[in-house]
């Protein structure tokens, strides 16, 4: 289950700095660990995260094997106009998740 949770303030003043929090359920298997029988557990991580504000990319992150499971990303943006903020995670083994949140700017 590609479960994700995002938190964007429902409304903000124009020009205000808003905090965006995102959480994605993922094991973030490093690819360096082995089973008890010595077999390498293949890498399975989220590789990239993109946040777009009304279609325009405002934040991007590359994720790597040392990042903990269920990565939590917190970042800020300037509230410019009302609209939709979309979030996209993609990774190994065809992993992909999207979520969006509406924001009203007054």
């Amino acid at each position: 289950m590609a479960r994700v949770v995002v938190n964007v303030p429902a409304s903000a003043k124009r020009g205000e700095l808003i905090e965006i929090k995102t959480l994605a359920a993922h094991t973030m298997e490093t690819g360096f660990r082995r089973t008890q029988l010595g077999e390498l557990i293949p890498r399975d991580i989220i590789r990239s995260f993109v946040c777009a504000y009304n279609g325009e990319e405002i934040f991007r992150a590359g994720l790597h094997p040392a990042i903990a499971a269920n990565p939590l990303l917190v970042f800020t943006a300037v509230a410019t106009e009302s609209g939709t903020i979309t979030f996209t995670w993609s990774g190994d083994n065809g992993y992909s998740a999207t979520q969006s949140a509406a924001i009203t700017v007054v």
Binding site: M1, R3, V5, V6, N7, K21, L23, A25, T27, M28, A68, A69, N70, L72, V74
Partner: protein, 274 residues
């Protein structure tokens, strides 16, 4: 070196030193005996209070608490039909936010058919096999953790209150006995650390009082949600003791004792711990 040798040459002084040593050992013994009592209610503290600021903030905010990922999956499972009976949990119990409010704070609870206390996970599985006619879920499986996290979430803020009566008393006593019994290659009992040395450090991390206030909880070390039994088995392994298998009566009795020991403390599931 020279001074030391002279000291040991004096038989009277040596005798005094031995006496003093014996006295110190005796005193230490008394202090140990005085310590081995239950923690007074006013001094009881949840593991939450031993955590750093960042970890507390992570738990308090439901949008950063990773345990919520399981809670949300649990909500989906609650409403999904399963088994030969083709019934969802919600078909009998309705809205969990109302029907399951405060329930997790009462577990482990006495089960009339098994004639012994069962914990929340066992209760969920009993419902699955008896009512839904579905296969029981494996301990620590994502589904069982999700369902138990969802149920425990409905009791957030509820004071822990397990029912102790004639039927459950002997299981409580068995759990208490396990808690105080020295075991494993390190010859430690749970009480040695959690009653006597809480607040002190073990390998740089604070020793909590072992109140199960937040289970199932997200342990950063595990990178996952885990049950109280996982934590207990973890601790027993650390003591180099033989950990009973998941769902064994011994672990449930210990869970019962720990919940009784934490009676009145508020449930904070899904908690986050370091």
């Amino acid at each position: 070196m020279v001074r030391r040798q002279r000291l040991f040459r004096d038989p009277v002084r040596r005798h005094h030193r031995r006496l003093r040593l014996r006295l110190a050992v005796l005193l230490l013994g008394f202090v140990g005996a005085a310590f081995a009592a239950e923690i007074p209610p006013a001094e009881r503290r949840s593991g939450y209070e031993f955590m750093g600021r960042e970890t507390r903030a992570m738990q308090d905010d439901e949008t950063t608490n990773p345990g919520m990922l399981w809670v949300l999956d649990g909500e989906a499972l609650w409403n999904r039909k399963a088994g030969a009976a083709d019934r969802a949990c919600a078909d009998c119990h309705g809205d969990a936010r109302a029907s399951m409010n405060g329930v997790a704070a009462r577990y482990p609870a006495f089960d009339a058919t098994l004639r012994r206390p069962v914990d929340l996970e066992q209760r969920i599985n009993a419902c699955r096999t008896d009512r839904q006619k579905a296969a029981s879920l494996a301990f620590e499986s994502h589904e069982l953790l999700a369902l138990s996290a969802y149920l425990a979430r409905q009791s957030r803020g509820t004071p822990i209150a397990v029912a102790i009566d004639d039927r459950t008393k002997r299981f409580l006593d068995a759990g208490r006995e396990t808690f105080h019994r020295r075991q494993g290659q390190l010859n430690l009992s749970c009480a040695n650390c959690h009653d006597d040395l809480w607040g002190r450090k073990l390998a740089g991390t604070p020793i909590p009082q072992a109140h199960p206030t937040g289970y199932p909880l997200y342990r950063l070390e595990w990178q996952s949600l885990g049950s109280l039994q996982r934590r207990l088995r973890n601790c027993l392994n650390g003591m180099r003791a033989e950990a009973p298998p998941f769902g064994s009566p011994e672990l449930v009795d210990l869970e019962l004792y720990l919940m009784w020991r934490a009676r009145g403390m508020k449930l904070e599931s899904p908690a986050v711990r370091p």
